[in-house]
């Protein structure tokens, strides 16, 4: 964690030293990423509650999901055909690009009555054990903070129903005992969290 933080600090310092790098122009979006941002939003910041944001998701996580779509472990009418044409190198390139984009502030507002319960559920069901105390993700584990509400809810329902492919079995076991009410509260809580460390 501290390694990532210091790397982020160094990156920030480098960017402030070379101001033109700080705000990449629209034409710098790699050709391969053009198709992605149609649904996932400019810079990978989705504005559709059902569509996940990719900005600042860990690169290893993005590559893993693309791989799972291509290999047929995850299935989606839109993503499966897109991933089918991607090579490993394409996936790594897309992952690197979106992992470096700045996440937008969440548009979702957590219902006040769900804030404390949501936090308690993230601890009770071990979310924070892998996704980190601020739920920002790490390596192959996704950022949940500020992710889209309906997307999170769909994934949790899928893990509980054992229909959502799971790389190592941990999400299937974590979601096993969630009630539909817990899922609603978790999705509401997580999607309202700040996607960056203060």
């Amino acid at each position: 964690m501290s390694g990532n933080r210091s790397a982020a600090a160094m990156l920030a310092a480098a960017l402030s030293f070379f101001p033109p790098c700080a705000a990449p122009a629209a034409e710098e979006v790699p050709q391969k990423a053009q198709a992605c941002i149609v649904c996932h939003g400019p810079g990978g910041n989705s504005t559709d509650a059902a569509m996940p944001s990719l900005a600042r998701q860990p690169a290893q996580f993005i590559a893993l999901q693309l791989f799972m779509f291509r290999e047929g472990d995850r299935k989606d009418p839109q993503m499966s055909p897109i991933a089918a044409s991607l090579s490993n190198a394409d996936m790594n390139e897309l992952a690197a690009y979106f992992s470096k984009q700045k996440p937008a502030a969440p548009s979702h507002k957590t219902a006040p009555e769900n804030a404390a319960t949501g936090r308690r559920l993230t601890e009770q069901h071990h979310c924070v054990q892998c996704h980190g105390p601020a739920l920002l993700g790490l390596q192959h584990i996704p950022r949940l903070a500020g992710q889209q509400f309906a997307y999170l809810r769909t994934q949790l329902r899928g893990f509980k129903a054992k229909t959502r492919a799971d790389f190592d079995g941990n999400m299937t076991s974590a979601a096993e005992l969630l009630s539909e009410g817990d899922i609603e509260i978790l999705a509401d809580y997580l999607s309202g969290l700040a996607p960056l460390r203060d």
Partner: protein, 411 residues
């Protein structure tokens, strides 16, 4: 309005009701089981930031890796031998020189062939269940998945059109639960296939066929347990002279940074018990399962390799390329620790023996570890070692899907 004494009770009553309803909510919603790799943690370790590291399933291009950091002793040369084999783990060489490579998190087996000094990686088999174990003898490739061992006869003549799998033995994973059930596979001097079935968790009582190295006769399909009390061995080989089985073993997690050691063992006969789950590293009783036991009951390790250092593949060096003192030494791929505050391993270690047969270990190939306190601490992870027919040593790196070659006396 209520009299003052009653009014003061209102917040108290509310607090009580709230506390009760919160307790009721907790009771209604039991906590899910923690991730399986956390099994065996004590109360003090509940907030531990330690966690296992996942491989890059899409692999990484060798040109993006700091391969120049890799270091072997003077006179040895290290180079990238093949890339584009994501998740590359166990290796075996065919009669015609094909290098077969298994995977654990992927479903593929690769065949790597030399095309005029350049290696071509073919995805030979797809859709298998954790095909980690790979062995080759007399034209036949054997593959160990979680649940079965299969054979592919005449495979080197059919690399672009592999035959259907023939089952040697099936039903090896009856419970399909989390646990150490990917397999290492090797052919013994007796012509039998040796494989491990690991423990079903970090520290749990195994069933009779678990935490064991077993062997199956490929002609009859008859299985025997060969070694018991082996938490998880994913690397073994036979001593070139004594023909005894040597194997690496992973010790349990969550017993602290310095305990227990992962170990190197020799099985001098069939039926020995090596301690799990009662006794670790030959001298440390388990806090739970070790009660009322004595480490003297069990066969101790030959060598303690380091706590949580994760030894995977091991081979005796029998090639003719390296200096004479390397003959019958052991190379061990240390995949590297995660369950330790200060990370170590992430190298290939050489084990040599003095005149009395006393083992000594030293790092042989280093440079994968970047920062012992970082998360992640490494850029690559050695997984298996294999002596090529020319005497060079191949080292697979499953983190990146790259295979390196260590040679001696070449320029």
């Amino acid at each position: 309005m209520l009299p003052a004494p009653f009014r003061s009770l209102i917040p108290l009553t509310c607090a009580l009701v709230c506390a009760l309803s919160a307790a009721a909510a907790q009771a209604q919603a039991p906590a899910a089981a923690p991730p399986s790799w956390q099994q065996g943690r004590n109360a003090e370790q509940e907030k531990s930031p330690l966690h296992p590291f996942a491989i890059e399933v899409t692999g990484r291009a060798a040109k993006l890796l700091p391969v120049d950091k890799l270091k072997a002793p003077a006179g040895f040369k290290v180079e990238v031998w093949a890339e584009g084999a994501p998740g590359a783990r166990s290796m075996a060489q065919g009669d015609k020189g094909t290098v077969f490579v298994g995977t654990r998190q992927l479903k593929d087996v690769y065949a790597i062939v030399d095309r005029g000094g350049k290696r071509e990686v073919k995805t030979l088999l797809k859709g298998l269940d954790s095909p980690n174990g790979i062995a080759f003898r007399r034209g036949t490739l054997y593959v160990a998945e979680r649940h079965r061992i299969t054979r592919y006869d005449g495979i080197e003549n059919r690399l672009d059109n592999p035959p259907e799998a023939k089952v040697v033995v099936d039903g090896l994973d009856p419970q399909n639960q989390p646990g150490h059930f990917w397999k290492f596979l090797a052919l013994g001097p007796d012509g039998k296939l040796y494989y491990n079935v690991g423990a079903p968790g970090n520290i749990v009582m195994p069933a009779y066929f678990q935490a064991a190295i077993s062997r199956v006769d490929p002609r009859t399909g008859v299985i025997e347990n060969y070694a018991q009390g082996v938490r998880n061995s994913v690397g073994f080989d036979w001593h070139p002279q004594t023909k005894q089985l040597w194997f690496t073993n992973h010790g349990r997690d969550w017993l602290g940074d310095e305990s227990p050691n992962d170990t190197l063992h020799v099985a001098t006969r069939k039926g020995q018990h090596f301690g799990y789950p009662y006794c670790h590293q030959g001298d440390t009783l388990d806090p739970e399962f070790g009660k009322n036991r004595d480490c003297k009951e069990f066969t101790p390790p030959t060598l303690k390799l380091g706590p949580h250092i994760a030894p995977i593949g091991m081979r005796f060096y029998t090639g003719k390329m390296f200096p004479a003192e390397y003959q019958n030494n052991i190379f061990i791929a240390m995949r590297g620790s995660w369950n330790r505050t200060i990370k170590h391993g992430y190298n290939v270690t050489r084990v040599s023996f003095d005149a009395d047969g006393k083992p000594k270990m030293e790092p042989f190939l280093t440079g994968f570890l970047t920062d012992e306190k970082a998360d992640p601490p490494m850029w690559g992870r050695p997984n298996d070692v294999m002596v090529m027919r020319d005497g060079s040593l191949l080292v697979s790196d499953d983190q990146n899907g790259v295979i390196y070659r260590v040679s001696y006396g070449t320029k």
